[in-house]
Amino acid sequence: MPVHVSGVVRRFTSQASEPVEVLAGIDLEVPASQFVALLGPSGCGKSTLLRLVAGLDAPDGGAVMVDGRPLRRREHPEALAFVFQEAHLLPWRTLIGNVILPLELRGTPHGERRDRALHMLERVGLADARDRYPAQLSGGMQLRGSLARALVTEPRLLLLDEPFAALDEITRQRLDALIHELWRERQFTALFVTHSLREAVFLAQRAVMFSHRPARVVADRAIEFAGERGAELRGLPAYHERVEQLYQDLLVAEAGA
C-alpha cells in the first residue's frame, strides 16, 4: 500500500511556552511494498510522523495519503497495522486471545479466527505458548506476540515504532530476521522507526534521515545489496559502509537546524 506524505506540518503546544514545530514540511513518497527506515536524532519527530500516517494524529498543515486516498482526521485505513514500542498485549487475555483480538474487532467470521491466529503464532515461533498469559512471557516473546497480532489481519501497511529498542542484541537480531522473512513473504509496505543504524541497514531498502526539530528530510538513501539478506550480511564490508554512511548522515542531522 503506497504512502504519500506532502508538506506535512505538525506543531505541539505545551502550557508554558510557545508552540513547538516538530515537523516542518515533510515530503515523502513510499511506493507499495517498500521497506523504509525512518532515522534521526532523538525526539526529532519520527514517531510523530508515523502516528500521522496511522491516523492516530492529524497534521496542522499538508496532507497524508494512504493507498491513493487522503486520510481524514482520525481515520484509520483498514489494511494497516501498528507495532508499538512496548508489546502492550492485554494482560487478561492469553497470547492467542491477544492475537485473535484484531480479528474480533474487525468482525472476521468466527470459524476463521482461531486458525488464522494459530497460524500467525506458529509463524513467529510461539505456538506452544498460546495459552500463556503475557505476564508469563519474556520481553522478546511478548514482542513476537505483538508482531503476530499486528500481522494477523494481513495488513498492506505495517508501521513499527522502535519495537525492539529494549531487547538485547541477539534477540533483536533474531526478531529483525523474522520481520525480514515476513516482509519477503507478504510484501507489505513498512515504515520502521529506529535508532539503530545497523538494524536499519539490515532491514530497509531505503533510509530516510530527519534533522533535529523542526524536522526536515536531510538524507534519503537507497540501501541495496546483491542477493538475499541473511545472517552473513552483517559480516560484509558493503554492510559496514552503509552503516558508516548513515552515521555521517546522522551527524549532519544532529548538527543541522
Binding site: L80, W92, A135
Partner: protein
C-alpha cells in the same frame, strides 16, 4: 491442600489468633478482678454466654442486616461501575457530575436516613439505601481511575482496528479496570456494613424484623452490654465476610494474569 500450603496457612493464622486469645484473656481477667458495674463493662465469657442464649435472635438480626447490606452493596457495585464508565467517556461529563459524587460521600447519614423513612419503608428498603449511599463513592472513583489508567497504546490499538464503543467497553475498559474496580469494591463492602448498621439506628424496623443496628440500640438502652458487644462483633464479622467475598471474587477474576494475585 499440600503440606506446604497447610503450613503457610497456619503461619498466617496463628499470630492473629494468639493475639486474640491473649487479648480476650486479659480482658476477662481484668473484669473478674475489678468487678465493675454490669451496665458499664462486661467480660468476654458473658458475651459468649448471652450470645449463645439468644443465638436465634442474633442470627435473625444478622440475617436481616446481611440482606440489607447485600442489596446496598449490589446496587452500589452496579450503579458505581455504570456511573464510573459514563464519567470516563467524556471529560465534560466528568467535570459536570464528579463534584456531586463527592458530596454524596460527605453528607452525614444520620441526617439523611430519617428522610429515607418518609419515602421508603423502614427496614430493609431504607437500610439498603443507607448502605448504598455510604458505599457508592469508592466504586465510582475507582472505576473511573481504573479506566483512565489504561495505557494509551492499548486504547489506540482499539481505535486502529475500528472497534465500536461497545467492544471498547467490554473488551478493553472493563477488563482493564478490573483490578481498580476490585479495590473499590473491597472498600465499598466494608462501608456497606457500616452504612447498614448506622442506617438501622434511625431507619430500622423495631419488631421481629430488627437488624443488628436495632439490637445494638436497644441493648445500649437496656444496659445489656454482652448483647451489645455480641451484635457489634457480628457486624464486624459481617464486614470481614463481605470483604472476604470480594477478595475471593478478585482472586478468581485475576489470579491467572494479575500481579496482585500471585502467591508470594
Amino acid at each position: 491442600m499440600t503440606a506446604r500450603r497447610a503450613r503457610d496457612l497456619a503461619g498466617r493464622l496463628a499470630p492473629p489468633l494468639c493475639t486474640a486469645v491473649v487479648g480476650l484473656g486479659l480482658w476477662e481477667l481484668w473484669v473478674r478482678w475489678t468487678d465493675p458495674p454490669r451496665f458499664l463493662f462486661c467480660a468476654p465469657s458473658e458475651i459468649v454466654r448471652d450470645a449463645i442464649a439468644r443465638a436465634g435472635e442474633l442470627a435473625m438480626a444478622t440475617w436481616k442486616t446481611t440482606v440489607a447490606v447485600a442489596w446496598g452493596f449490589a446496587l452500589s457495585a452496579v450503579v458505581g461501575v455504570a456511573v464510573g464508565v459514563a464519567l470516563s467517556s467524556s471529560r465534560l461529563l466528568e467535570r459536570a457530575l464528579y463534584p456531586y459524587t463527592v458530596i454524596l460521600q460527605t453528607v452525614p447519614l444520620v441526617a439523611i436516613a430519617p428522610m429515607l423513612v418518609i419515602w421508603l419503608h423502614a427496614g430493609v428498603q431504607a437500610v439498603s439505601v443507607c448502605a448504598f449511599i455510604v458505599s457508592l463513592f469508592p466504586v465510582i472513583t475507582n472505576t473511573l481511575s481504573g479506566i483512565r489508567s489504561i495505557p494509551r497504546p492499548q486504547v489506540e490499538l482499539f481505535w486502529l482496528y475500528g472497534a465500536r464503543p461497545l467492544a471498547v467497553l467490554t473488551k478493553l475498559k472493563l477488563p482493564g479496570a478490573v483490578p481498580s474496580i476490585m479495590a473499590g469494591l473491597r472498600i465499598a463492602a466494608g462501608l456497606a456494613v457500616i452504612g447498614a448498621v448506622v442506617g438501622e439506628f434511625v431507619a430500622g424496623e423495631l419488631g421481629a424484623d430488627r437488624g443488628l443496628g436495632i439490637v445494638v440500640v436497644v441493648a445500649a438502652k437496656q444496659g445489656e452490654l454482652p448483647m451489645l458487644f455480641a451484635a457489634v462483633a457480628l457486624a464486624s464479622a459481617l464486614g470481614i465476610a463481605m470483604v472476604g467475598a470480594v477478595n475471593a471474587a478478585a482472586y478468581f477474576l485475576m489470579y491467572r494474569w494479575h500481579v496482585s494475585e500471585r502467591p508470594d
